[in-house]
């Protein structure tokens, strides 16, 4: 996280929200500072969109404190929108208008008077320059998604909130979008809050991530903190090795019977391991560090959470 003295773009503390009997968000905290990209992750129904809509002033929080640039979004939504831009999924656009007409008219709301070059540049940024004057009805889902991103960029906001912006994008477009967001952060110091299912992108893009599950915070921190590197070893006798390690005071975190044992990273080095097992007549066949993907780490967390809850 960046310096707390800087006014945060978003500050959420202990946010609660329910829909009838169903609790959609419980005690969620979030802070997004200028120049920071924060990822919002979680399974369907975890409360991601509710959180984004509360930040946009579309839903009323039922508990806690929510501020965007120091303003309560539900009470003063259009003041928030002077500095923030939200793009919700699925992309809702006027089918009978062209991308250029969308950009021209929507960017003027609030007093901005964009030049044609600015509009063309925004369309080029998302790869839609050659479709600028086609009706939106003729655009593919991915193109509409990109247009929504372009709309969010004119005029340049201080905070960009994107809901599933990579939905419907091909891999090249996803990479391009990643570059755009990084450039916005690096060159313009824009704060970005990004909700996405594409964990690979999140892992490579965000400085901080908030994982929600059933409305609760499952994880909040840099992605790297969620990914724990472990030691994996393969032996000639799985069960005997497990017993030997435990007798040697080494905790076995997980094991795949007949395949591997997993230890905390740094709990022993190769020589120590080989010596310990050799003393029990067990052959060490493989010893290496294992780094799970963010997806694996998330799934592991979700399973663990589910076991705790149920």
């Amino acid at each position: 996280m960046t310096n707390s003295a800087i006014e945060p773009a978003i500050e959420v503390v202990g946010l609660d929200r329910h829909f009838g009997q169903r609790q959609a968000l419980r005690g969620v905290d979030l802070r997004v500072s200028p120049g920071e990209i924060v990822g919002l992750v979680g399974p369907n129904g975890s409360g991601k969109t509710s959180l984004l809509k509360i930040l946009g002033g579309f839903l009323r929080p039922h508990g806690g404190r929510v501020e965007v640039f120091g303003l309560e979004p539900f009470a003063r939504p259009h003041h928030v929108m002077r500095r923030a831009r939200f793009a919700f999924a699925p992309p809702a656009l006027y089918d009978s208008l062209t991308p250029m007409e969308h950009l021209h008219h929507l960017s003027r709301i609030g007093g901005h008077r964009p030049s044609d070059q600015e509009l063309t540049r925004a369309l080029a940024t998302v790869g839609l320059a050659d479709r600028a004057n086609d009706r939106v009805a003729t655009l593919s889902f991915g193109m509409r998604q990109r247009l929504v991103v372009a709309l969010a960029l004119v005029p340049m906001p201080e905070l960009l909130v994107l809901d599933e912006p990579t939905d419907g994008l091909d891999p090249v477009a996803v990479l391009e979008l990643r570059d755009v967001l990084l450039r916005l952060r690096n060159e313009h110091g824009i704060a970005v809050l990004l909700s996405s299912h594409l964990l690979v992108e999140i892992e490579h893009l965000v400085d901080h991530m908030l994982v929600l599950n059933e409305g609760r915070t499952l994880f909040s921190g840099p992605p790297s903190e969620m990914i724990h590197t472990t030691l994996r070893l393969e032996t000639s006798s799985h069960e005997a090795a497990k017993v030997a390690l435990m007798n040697g005071g080494i905790e076995v975190r997980r094991s795949q019977p007949g395949q591997w044992l997993e230890l905390d990273a740094g709990s022993m080095d190769l020589e120590q391991c080989r010596a310990l097992l050799h003393a029990q007549g067990i052959e060490l066949r493989s010893f290496h560090e294992h780094r799970p993907t963010l997806e694996e780490a998330l799934l592991r967390r979700l399973r663990a959470e589910r076991e705790v809850l149920h």
Partner: protein
């Protein structure tokens, strides 16, 4: 956490202001006829359907309501009264007795057990002009002053069919057609043309009633126009028409809250001041 409601309050203020002006200021709607003592020379015409409505139609004036009718007519002190839905000659005689010795009356033929009658002081009521074949109307002649003779027709166009009502009205008009002098046509026409009640917009019945009204309006002045409903529920069925030029309408309209229990019509009053031209003929 609330959003501002300034716009709503402005609109609400506008709504209250507009509604206050619209509803709070005088609507110009007639309160009907208000009882007063007219100047000498004013001809007060009263038309009243005194029958009682029952579920399957109407019945003639019940004897127990006769005193109420006499009382109301006594208060009005009219020059001429046309009544609809009288029972028989005995009933008319009882009414005349109660009104006073100077009153005289004539009774029309029975139309489905109910009759039209004309009542006036003896000095005024001069002659019958005739009666429509079906008993729905009755012609008469009044002498109101030495030089003013008024030919009238009392009518109760009571047929259920608008086509028959059209004929009844036409026959009533024939009774006073080609009369040289002031003419009066009063009674219950059973047609309601209030501008704001287009309930039968697309019906032939309403269409024919409109034709009937316009047939009258082409020939006479509607003396109680714009004075509101005369019968339940909110219908203008009773009219006083006068031929043009012989009088000005001083006051006119239904005299409200005068119904005996069961009655569904108000008495309709028209105070007419004969013009100098009419009295000097």
């Amino acid at each position: 956490m609330r959003r501002g409601i300034g716009g709503e309050l402005i609109l609400l203020g506008l709504a209250l202001g507009f509604l206050w002006y619209g509803y709070g200021t005088s609507s110009g709607e007639s309160a009907g006829f208000e009882l007063y003592a007219p100047d000498e020379g004013v001809v007060r015409v009263v038309s009243w359907n005194v029958g009682v409505s029952v579920t399957d139609g109407g019945v003639a004036l019940p004897p127990e309501a006769e005193a109420h009718v006499v009382s109301a007519l006594g208060a009005l002190a009219p020059t001429v009264v046309v009544l609809q839905e009288l029972r028989d000659l005995d009933q008319l005689e009882r009414l005349l007795d109660a009104l006073g010795d100077e009153w005289r009356g004539v009774l029309g033929a029975s139309y489905e057990g109910r009759r039209v009658a004309v009542l006036a002081p003896a000095r005024a009521l001069r002659a019958l002009r005739g009666s429509a074949g079906d008993g729905s109307s009755l012609g008469f002649r009044l002498r109101l002053a030495d030089e003013l003779r008024l030919t009238g027709v009392a009518i109760h166009a009571d047929a259920l069919s608008s086509r028959l009502r059209n004929q009844q009205v036409g026959q009533a008009v024939e009774l006073v057609e080609n009369v040289d002098g002031p003419v009066l046509l009063a009674g219950d026409l059973n047609i309601d043309l209030d501008l704001d009640k287009r309930r039968d917009l697309f019906s032939d019945d309403q269409y024919l009633d409109v034709e009937t009204y316009n047939y009258l309006a082409e020939r006479f002045v509607d003396a109680t126009l714009g004075t509101g409903s005369t019968a339940e529920p909110d219908r203008r069925l009773d009219y006083v028409f006068v031929s043009g030029g012989w009088c000005e309408v001083v006051a006119a309209g239904p005299w409200r809250r005068q119904r005996a229990p069961g009655m569904d019509h108000d008495p309709v009053v028209a105070d007419l001041r004969p013009t100098a031209a009419a009295t000097s003929r």
